[in-house]
């Protein structure tokens, strides 16, 4: 009898039979063994404490220092553990006083903001909140040199406590969105006794603020927040928050499915979201969906041929099919975006839809023909994306497929990727023609959606942008009118006049096409049955104090 590895074929058959049987049992166990109860803990283990809510996320909490926290999740934690001078009324985009008692009194030149402050507020360590502590916190935010320090350091000339309950801030130049900027999570008061003003001096693992929760413990895998019993405002609807930090969406997805978490918040893959949505009815999960202000767009390098031709850029704007991206890539979990200003703002106008449509290959063909591109001289679009982004990889390839099918022989799309660090490092060098990018705003104001894409500090129509926002963005867009309008809308206090300027900026965007808006992300939160009050705010904040168990 023949033998393989010294074992006869008959014996190998028996081994394979056993392996096959084991595989079958495994498949049956996976397929049929689903139990709807969570893993039974060993004897002696405690069950979840009533009223404490467990939240899972893959977002990272790099630091809790308000002067250095620039990412979404530390921002959410600080939003829940601290207060700001101004905040947004829950469920709205209305700016309302929080530690201030009224909106600021602005001087006629738009440079001086006088802010009356609330009395009877104490920090988590029992020390009183005063105008001096607020001035100290803003000063520290600017001087310690943390990630977001430039947000205020570039705008504020001085900050001073002009009374026990009055703060006066003087700006370098008028900035109408300043109250909105004061609602940024990092502009939260901290006690003078616990923090210091010194470059690079941060406290990443602790936080003392005035908010409804205080920090109970902080580690890289879990964070616990206890209710602040001395909070000046309304008490939270729960007894505390236990946050589990996950290293991958799969971990978060599996943990939520097994019932180990009350709430799963960011970031799950589209398939996982679809799966949880599908099973929500049967399992009793709540699905909370909200639009975000995260803008995804295609930046075009205006210094590079043939993208220096507005007709070619217009043709690309006409070629892209946002609905296809929404359906095929996101399974409906994203919204097509037709302006660099997201839909959350009233001033949003679907200018790209009106000017170019979606997958409008006829218009694209005409524009390309006017630029000299046709079957005998096809246009090659080189499309780049950061290699770690699976989503953008699928988007790039979907666009390639769609464009090459819509304009056969006229356009070829060459999809390329590079590691994100190299991509962003080389963006200013102008070596990438078109890049799929995204933009997470710093604060909730329209200025944050026009200035980064349209303003240039130094340049000319001939050289294009040589320094400033569009230089960093890799489009090198330079428009004197855009610069003028950006400065004017920043100084304008009349909302209607300001809106007029923002509308003109959107028109300039479709005329010059330095960037093409593609889609706006949607946020999803999943809550187990019995969990109430889970909401994502229009400003993207996640208010823990609303959650009840």
């Amino acid at each position: 009898m023949k033998a393989v590895l010294g074992v006869s074929l008959r014996q190998w058959r028996r081994v394979l039979q056993w392996v096959g049987l084991f595989g079958l049992c495994l498949a049956l166990a996976v397929g049929c063994g689903a139990s709807q109860e969570s893993a039974t803990p060993p004897d002696g283990a405690t069950t979840p404490v009533g009223g404490r809510v467990s939240v899972g996320t893959t977002l990272k909490a790099r630091t809790l220092d308000p002067a250095d926290a620039y990412e979404i999740f530390p921002g959410i934690l600080l939003y829940n553990m601290g207060d700001r001078l101004y905040t947004y009324a829950p469920g709205t985009t209305d700016l309302v006083p929080q530690l201030a008692t009224a909106l600021p009194i602005v001087s006629e030149d738009g440079l001086t903001y006088t802010i009356p402050l609330r009395d009877g507020v104490t920090f988590h360590d029992g020390t009183p909140f005063t105008a001096a502590s607020m001035a100290f916190s803003i000063q520290r935010f600017m001087e310690n040199g943390g990630r977001p320090s430039f947000l205020l350091a570039e705008k504020i000339a001085s900050v001073a406590a002009t009374g026990d309950r009055e703060l006066t801030i003087t700006l370098n130049s008028p900035f109408s969105a300043f109250p909105a900027l004061l609602s940024f999570w990092g502009v939260t008061p901290v006690p003078v006794e616990s923090y210091e003003i010194a470059a690079g001096s941060f406290k990443p693992e602790s936080f003392v603020g005035t908010g409804p929760y205080k920090l109970a413990s902080f580690s890289t895998d879990s964070i616990k927040l206890d209710v602040n019993p001395d909070y000046w405002g309304d008490a939270p609807s729960n007894e505390g928050i236990d946050i589990q930090l996950f290293s991958s969406p799969a971990n978060l997805f599996n943990s939520f499915q097994t019932g180990n978490l009350d709430v799963a918040y960011q970031t799950l893959d589209p398939e996982q979201i679809a799966s949880l949505e599908r099973d929500a009815g049967q399992e009793g999960w709540s699905v909370i969906e909200a639009g975000t202000t995260v803008v995804n767009y295609l930046s075009l390098n205006m210094k590079m041929e043939p993208l220096d031709n507005p007709a070619v850029r217009g043709a690309i704007a006409a070629m892209v099919d946002r609905n296809l991206i929404r359906d095929r890539v996101f399974q409906g979990q994203a919204d097509p975006l037709y302006s660099m200003i997201p839909k959350s703002f009233d001033v949003y106008q679907p200018v790209f839809q009106e000017a170019y449509g979606d997958g409008n290959f006829e218009q694209a063909k005409e524009l390309l023909a006017s630029a000299g591109f046709n079957e005998s001289n096809p246009f090659e679009l080189e499309l780049w994306y950061p290699s770690a982004s699976t989503i953008r990889s699928i988007v790039a390839n979907t666009l390639k497929e769609s464009i090459e099918n819509g304009l056969p022989g006229i356009v070829t799309v060459n999809v390329q990727n590079v590691e994100a660090a190299s991509l962003f490092e080389n963006m200013e060098k102008g070596i990438y023609p078109a890049v799929l990018q995204n933009w997470y705003p710093d604060f909730f104001d329209v200025d944050n959606f026009v200035q980064p894409f349209m303003s240039c500090d130094q340049g000319s129509p001939e050289t294009l942008c040589e320094s400033g926002a569009t230089f960093s963005d890799g489009t090198f867009y330079y428009s004197e009118r855009a610069n003028e309008l950006i400065q004017q809308q920043r100084a304008e206090l009349d909302p209607e006049v300001r809106n007029g300027m923002l509308e003109e900026l959107q028109q300039l965007m479709i005329q010059d096409v330095p960037s093409i808006p593609l889609w706006q992300n949607k946020d999803y939160v999943f809550a187990q049955s019995g969990i109430e009050g889970v909401e994502i705010q229009p400003t993207q904040q996640f208010l823990f104090w609303q959650i009840a168990k």
Binding site: V7, S35, S54, D221, S222, S247, A250, N254, N260, E419
Partner: protein, 342 residues
Amino acid sequence: MSSRSSALRYYILSRLLLAPLMIWTITTLVFLLLRATPGDPVDALLGERAPDSAKAALRERLGLDAPIWLQYLNYLGNLLRFDLGTSLATQGQSVVQIIGDHFPATLELTLLSMGVSVVVGVLVGVMAASRPNTPLDAGGRLFGIITYAVPMYWFGMLLQLLFAVQLRWFPIGSRFPLQMDPPAGPTGLYLLDSLLQGRFDAFAQSLYHLVLPSLTLGILLSGVFERIVRINLKKTLRSDYVEAARARGIPEVRIVFAHALKNALIPVITVLGLMIASLLGGAILTEVTFNWPGLANRLYEAIENRDYPVVQGIMVFFGVIVAMASILIDILNAWVDPRIRY
């Protein structure tokens, strides 16, 4: 005898003297490789859209504006003072503190995984070797091949899906239940600390949370032991002294476990040393797959953030462990096996 012990002493001394050279090589390689990889830590910290002035100020504050050779000398100088620096990402946590906070979780996982891999590997190896050319033998070989070939993250996800999501037998995603206070003891090893505190519920929970990650890592590394035990035991079972034992009527089980296995286990000691590196490497994937809050997971995060001091510190720490383990195993081998020349 005395010449053997002085030779052994000389051997130990020479191995110990080589250790600093080995660690210096690791340190230098890590330092240079990190700087050769694309990406600027300042960009990673501030974001690519931050103003140039802010980037320049941060670069200066972190000493990243200095020439590479000066950064290297500063780094070596600090290293000699056991100062591994401060995390660039958190700007406040010392690397020593990060290692101290996270290493116990890795150590607990690797020790238990090592135990699993030795037990599983030796048992499967003995079963396969004691029934040569039978389905058991073939099964043992197949087991060895599969454990070599299966990717760690895939196997980890499979165990999670089966035992946590579907059957709900074991928990996933954490080292300890979120709703309980973890044992706060001197070692950071939850199993040990909970016993020291007399918290048996915490001990049970710690063990319960360790099951799936340690099984994943342990089973996949057990193929190495299985192969060595199977091959060596087969060879030993064909040796004259085993034949003599059989001729005397000693039961086969006793021959295998009391006589043959002892000799077949000697190479396992060597492999144990080599396995330390594999375990630490495997721990990175296991920790990420199971959301285990260990040092390997922290290293992965630091690489993503281009957090030079943390990556360097953890790599040097791992390097020292591997170097020390390899020296220890060499010494142990030389001591137990007189055939080894030194």
